[in-house]
């Protein structure tokens, strides 16, 4: 065997090992006890694959090393963002990943070749570029909305879906023409430009509450475009990594749309929350019971089981550390405190868990909706902080409600329900919550951080229970 073949074999071996390590990496992510090992396996795989690639003969290293260093310099601050900013960071990184794939696809298209590309290759290349391009701008738009540089409210106009689908349709038609007549290279810029515009238009009508689904969907697109790139370059490693990422994004977006009781097409074409706003406001006159921090503290300290239901409002108020103090103080008194977390409680899948873990709340106290729902009947107090629609019993028993059928946390089955809320305004989707008018519900009006802080003060000031 001559030297060049041996070198190729070595390179392919590093790719094979990297592929195995990537699969292990995801397997170890299944539990918090092994997850960090999973990250380590992924890192080793990545370093191996990059080192293997550098072994290719005839590479000009200055064109490789300078961009590698630059990327590292950009990557470090992106790895150090605050935990509340993780959703927009993730959206931004989907955009970067797609940018890489789209650029490589474009370069491959214009590369001079001895044998012309097969039709199938051309079709896959077009798919890679279209998916890549729409993910670039779509993710940038999502990141902008999450960072609140762009308006969070959905922006809609008449014929919007027609325009959007039309754009995508034109891009696909151009791609088909390219597959049939690959020599018409002047058409190629269109399958970059049109999806770039489509990416923007696709996110314009999507509201902040739908971001978890959208981020997951864009994650899936980024993965699929990378897998398509793997077909074009005949790289099995890339196909596997792209397929894993695509599958992950797909499962997460299924979870998210199930948690919101919506279909994919409804998220993308529905522009939720714009018509319902008129339905709110009618019922301001209904009586509610409210309580002070002192009363809340005495009920909480007399309880055996408390479930705290945090929503994104808690994170916005930066109340997680005060919530942890409340958790510590109640736990010390022998109260069993758990957290009930709805899948869409944060701005991306699992986001609320990260925010609570950052506040030092043990992860075995963080239960997802399916795990906690059976417990509410035996719960003395359900304390809701900054969550609204995910606790709305209308989703279970009012077929006329716009959120009817959405899975919710059954907080209304607890003996006492406490809701910390600024005022009686409707939630993100603008839907009234009948939970607030139940006899067992106590409204605790105030800012989440301040009110929880007051309860903690009352608990430590009082003589304690028993």
């Amino acid at each position: 065997m001559n030297g060049i073949l041996a070198n190729d074999l070595l390179i392919e071996t590093t790719y094979l090992i990297a592929t195995a390590l990537f699969v292990f990496s995801l397997m170890w992510m299944s539990s918090p006890t092994t997850a960090r090992r999973g990250v380590f396996a992924g890192e080793i795989g990545m370093v191996l694959a990059i080192a293997g690639t550098l072994l290719h003969s005839g590479l000009d290293y200055t064109w490789i090393l300078i961009p590698l260093v630059l990327g590292t310099i950009i990557g470090i601050p992106l790895g150090r963002v605050q935990m509340t900013a993780v959703p927009q960071r993730t959206a931004l990184s989907h955009s970067f990943g797609a940018l890489c794939v789209m650029l490589v696809g474009t370069a491959e298209f214009y590369l001079p070749r001895e044998v012309p590309m097969t039709r199938f290759m051309m079709a896959v290349l077009c798919m890679e570029v279209i998916l890549g391009a729409l993910t670039i701008t779509g993710s940038l738009m999502a990141a902008g909305k999450l960072q609140e540089w762009l308006p969070q409210r959905p922006i809609t106009y008449k014929g919007q879906n027609f325009v959007n689908l039309g754009l995508l349709g034109v891009a696909i038609v151009v791609a088909i023409i390219l597959v049939i007549h690959p020599e018409r290279t002047q058409l190629f810029p269109a399958i970059v430009a049109i999806p770039l515009v489509f990416g923007v238009m696709m996110i314009v009508p999507i509201g902040g509450a739908d971001m978890p689904t959208v981020i997951s969907l864009l994650n899936s697109y980024a993965g699929l475009s990378a897998a398509a790139m793997g077909f074009v370059l005949n790289s099995k490693l890339l196909i596997v990594a792209g397929a894993l990422d695509g599958a992950s994004g797909f499962i997460l977006s299924m979870n998210m749309s199930k948690a919101m009781n919506r279909s994919f097409s409804n998220v993308l074409f529905g522009a939720f929350g714009q018509e319902q706003t008129s339905a709110a406001g009618a019922a301001e006159a209904k009586p509610v019971r409210s309580a002070t921090a002192e009363e809340a503290a005495s009920i909480l300290s007399a309880a055996n089981k408390v479930v705290i239901v945090p929503g994104y409002g808690m994170a916005v108020a930066q109340a997680q550390h005060k919530v942890r103090e409340l958790f510590d103080s109640l736990t010390k008194r022998g109260v069993d405190v758990k957290f009930g977390i709805h899948p869409v409680a944060g701005r991306m899948p699992g986001h609320m868990n990260v925010l609570l873990a950052e506040a030092d709340i043990p992860y075995d106290k963080l239960l997802d909706m399916d795990e906690i729902n059976g417990d509410f009947a035996q719960t003395d107090v359900a304390l809701i902080i900054g969550a609204n629609d995910v606790t709305n019993p209308a989703a279970r028993n009012d077929p006329g409600s716009p959120i009817y059928g959405m899975p919710i946390l059954d907080v209304d089955k607890a003996r006492t329900v406490m809701v910390i809320k600024r005022g009686m305004g409707a939630g993100f989707a603008g839907i009234e919550n009948p939970l607030y008018f139940l006899d067992r519900t106590l409204m605790l009006f105030g800012d989440a951080k301040g009110f929880v802080g007051n309860i903690v003060r009352e608990l430590s000031g009082g003589s304690g229970h028993s």
Binding site: A18, P32, V86, C100, P112, A243, D245
Partner: protein
């Protein structure tokens, strides 16, 4: 060439099956770190960009490849960093506070 393609399709299909099985088992607790991890792994696309930039077949390919390396590398570095930072925060009951 035709065989390559068929093998690629097999690989894609099997990897997608494995992906579905493995990801389904991941607890919702860790879905955010999962997404940032898969994002970093997906940036393995950097290997394609490295070849393009390094082979320097045309000026265009080299420039596009170089930009692609920058964006993929920032995902690799940033993605692994933040995933590990998040996972470090997940502690069971009774663990000493950091």
């Amino acid at each position: 060439m035709k065989m390559d393609l068929l093998t690629s399709l097999y690989v894609f299909m099997l990897a997608a099956f494995i992906g579905f099985q493995v990801i389904k088992r991941i607890t919702p607790l860790l879905h955010t770190p999962l997404m940032s991890l898969t994002n970093a792994l997906d940036a393995i696309a950097v290997v394609g960009a490295i070849i393009l930039a390094g082979e320097h077949k045309t000026k265009l390919a080299a420039i596009l490849g170089a930009i692609a390396i920058v964006s993929a590398t920032s995902n690799i570095v940033g993605g692994f960093l933040i995933t590990d930072r998040m996972l470090k925060m997940f502690k069971p009951s009774g663990a000493k506070k950091a």
